[in-house]
């Protein structure tokens, strides 16, 4: 499943970040941020309009990701 489908408040482990284009700069930046295989992530909150963007915790940091950005991140079953 994808990070954009994660239920608010739940955590899961990143499996990989997909490239939508060749050398997708957004995917590259996501990996720089620490969205890499084996890293736990948690969906902390969602924006007030259309539940977008998503507030995601990875490592010690929180990031705001738009839905289509978060959809690049493949995660395991939520725990």
């Amino acid at each position: 499943m994808r990070l954009s489908e994660l239920v608010q408040g739940l955590s899961a482990v990143v499996q990989e970040v997909e490239d939508l284009t060749e050398k997708d700069p957004i995917s590259r930046r996501l990996r720089d941020f620490g969205f890499v295989s084996g890293e736990p992530v948690r969906l902390v909150g969602r924006g007030p309009i259309g539940a977008d963007p998503l507030l995601v915790q990875v490592g010690y940091t929180r990031f705001a990701l738009r839905r289509n950005e978060a959809a690049r991140i493949i995660i395991g079953e939520p725990a």
Binding site: I26, G47, P48, P53, Y60, R62, A64
Partner: protein, 610 residues
């Protein structure tokens, strides 16, 4: 020449929000120089300092970077300067890499990337006090041994918080030789953290608590609205009296200086109506710029600005913008100049340019005198729908017209743009921090400096040119009309009249538009001059009400919704985009919109019979 005379060149690098700029301020104090890197609009900040033992250092604050191989213009500069590959920049003798001690999972990866450059470097673990308070324990010796570079702890916001760093700089720091290591940097970071860092909790409890309110779907928006309201109240209630004081003060000073020149009336006019009026029209922007930036800097430093962008991103995305565009656009309701200067916090260059291009469509406060004159003269004081004042409704719809056209223009820009690749939000929400007075003061000083040096010069010269146009040639002997009617500006106004006649503008309006280029509100006093009423603006309202038709007034109101003729804004765009092309694009599209809107308004109003 002694060796101490040659300053050692240091480069400060680090990821955004690591407190790098605060450390830069702590080390250099006020001794900073702000410019741009050659050929780009990325800000270059350099400062000097010396250590107690008398050694001198030249410190370059490189743009914040999450990574050295990403494609953002900031990060390319950081990489090239570190390697000595940037034209015009010499290679730094030592790299000072800054990492937030509470955010090492993110920042250590960047540290490892910088280390791979193989340049002499020091790691500064910043905000070590905050880390200690949160119970984070970092084994500095182990980290130092594993990384093979000196590691020091710093507290950028505390006096003397960089002492450990300056002591380390005085020692001998050599280049690290990194053995070719193909292990993924993230894996290395995890190992380093497992060995040297113990962290009781991933985030600060206080951050979680604040975010529960600030990012709450309902409460968060209410809080945001309250903060915006407060800022607007402050800008209008604090800046207005200051602006008035500046205008009066400069005018008095001009008259006083001018009184010494009564024997030379032409020189006197140049000094009073050209130079001092020009200085006045530059300085009058300062209160709004400083007050707006006081709030913007405090919000940025505290960590709130990215939260506001989070809350509003979806809304702004609908118009092809980003949540980051909101604050600059809101500031533009006071004045487009600080609004355009505030677009620097927008990372995507496309989003930033769109925001700059539509900023002048937000109704700035300089348009209010024009609106006030025309509304008072033509719109009756009447209550509509039981509660609303008709004059208020008209004023409100003028604001709405500006916003709607801004959204439409943003949408068109999106359609026309060739680069259709996805725009990213990808934004870190940093820990909350109490803003530091010194950092805000230095930030304000920088903004004021940039405005006065880069924009002020252009505005001053244009004001003097406009003075020249409205003064020469002098009226012939026995002239009966006001002097401006005989000048170049007057002649220009008559020529413009040919262009603007379809909009219903009479030649008096056209003449007033010329000096109105300096600032929109000047058009009102120029109209008074043209009608030979200098200093009697109440009289102007009566003349306008009796001699103009409603269609003319509505047409001029429509013109001012777009009002392409603010040279100060165009000067700021030139400075912020480093391109005349964008200036021309902005002037041309605003002019076209204003012309079409006025034409339609006038012709329709006449057909309807007003």
């Amino acid at each position: 020449m002694s060796e101490a005379a040659l300053p050692m060149r240091l480069a400060l690098v680090g990821s955004p929000n690591c407190g790098k700029t605060a450390l830069f301020n702590q080390l250099t104090g006020g001794r900073q120089k702000v410019a741009n890197y050659a050929g780009v609009t990325v800000e270059r900040k350099e400062g000097r300092f010396s250590t107690p033992s008398g050694r001198n250092y030249l410190l370059l604050d490189l743009p914040g970077a999450y990574s050295l191989d990403a494609a953002s213009p900031d990060e390319i500069i950081t990489r090239k300067v570190c390697l000595g590959e940037f034209p015009g920049e010499s290679v730094p003798d030592l790299i000072v890499c800054v990492a937030d001690a509470t955010n090492l999972r993110l920042h250590l990866r960047f540290v490892l990337e910088v280390r791979k450059l193989g340049r002499p470097m020091v790691l500064a673990l910043n905000m070590s006090d905050a880390a200690r308070r949160r119970g984070i324990r970092i084994d500095v010796d182990k980290l130092q041994a594993r990384l093979g570079i000196p590691v020091v702890e710093t507290v950028a916001v505390r006096h003397g918080g960089a002492a450990e760093l300056t002591r380390c700089l005085e020692g001998d720091v050599r280049a690290v030789v990194v053995a070719e290591d193909s292990t993924d940097l993230h894996v290395q970071v995890r190992e380093l953290i497992a060995e040297a860092v113990s962290m009781p909790r991933r985030t600060a409890e206080i951050d979680d608590a604040i975010d529960r309110i600030v990012l709450h779907p309902a409460l968060g928006l209410v809080l945001l609205a309250a903060i915006m309201f407060l800022i607007f109240q402050a800008v209008f209630s604090w800046a207005e009296p200051l602006m008035e004081a500046i205008e009066i003060g400069i005018a008095h000073l001009g008259t006083w200086v001018g009184s010494a020149l009564t024997s030379m009336p032409m020189l006197q006019s140049l000094v009073v109506d050209g130079i001092f009026a020009g200085i006045g029209s530059v300085l009058v922007f300062l209160p709004q710029i400083l007050i707006l930036f006081l709030f913007i800097l405090a919000l940025e430093e505290s960590g709130y600005l990215p939260r506001a962008a989070f809350l509003l991103d979806r809304l702004m995305l609908g118009a092809g913008l980003t949540g980051r565009s909101f604050i600059p656009l809101l500031s533009s309701f006071a004045c487009a100049i600080p609004g355009i200067m505030a677009t620097r916090s927008i990372q995507d260059p496309r989003d930033r340019l769109t925001t700059i291009l539509i900023a002048p469509l937000m109704t700035c406060s300089a348009r209010l005198p024009v609106y006030a004159l025309l509304i008072a003269a033509f719109i009756p004081q009447r209550t509509v729908a039981g509660v609303f004042n008709l004059q208020g409704v008209v004023l409100f719809s003028l604001y709405v017209a500006g916003i709607v056209s801004a959204l439409a223009v943003a949408w068109v820009i999106k359609l026309l743009r060739k680069d259709k690749s996805e725009h990213a939000l990808l934004m870190e929400l940093p820990s909350y921090r109490v803003p530091h007075v010194r950092d805000i003061a230095i930030g304000l000083w920088e903004r004021a400096n940039i405005f006065l040096k880069r924009v002020g010069g252009i505005i001053l010269s244009l004001t003097i040119i406009l003075w020249f146009l409205s003064t020469f040639p002098a009226p012939p002997a026995g002239a009966t009309e006001p002097a401006i009617n005989y000048s170049f500006a007057g002649q220009l106004g008559h020529v413009l009249h040919l262009v603007f006649a379809p909009l219903g503008f009479n030649w008096q309006i056209c003449i007033a538009l010329v000096p109105g280029l300096a600032a929109r509100e000047v058009a009102v006093s120029s109209l008074a001059t043209v009608y030979a009423l200098s200093g009697h603006e109440e009289g102007l309202q009566a003349i306008v009400a009796s001699q103009w038709t409603l269609a003319m007034a509505l047409s001029l109101l429509a013109w001012y919704v777009f009002a392409p003729m603010c040279l100060s804004t165009l000067a700021t765009v030139r400075r912020e985009t480093n391109s005349w092309r964008q200036v021309w694009i902005m002037a041309a599209y605003l002019f076209a919109l204003a012309y079409v809107a006025s034409l339609l308004t006038y012709q329709i109003a006449r057909m309807v019979g007003s």
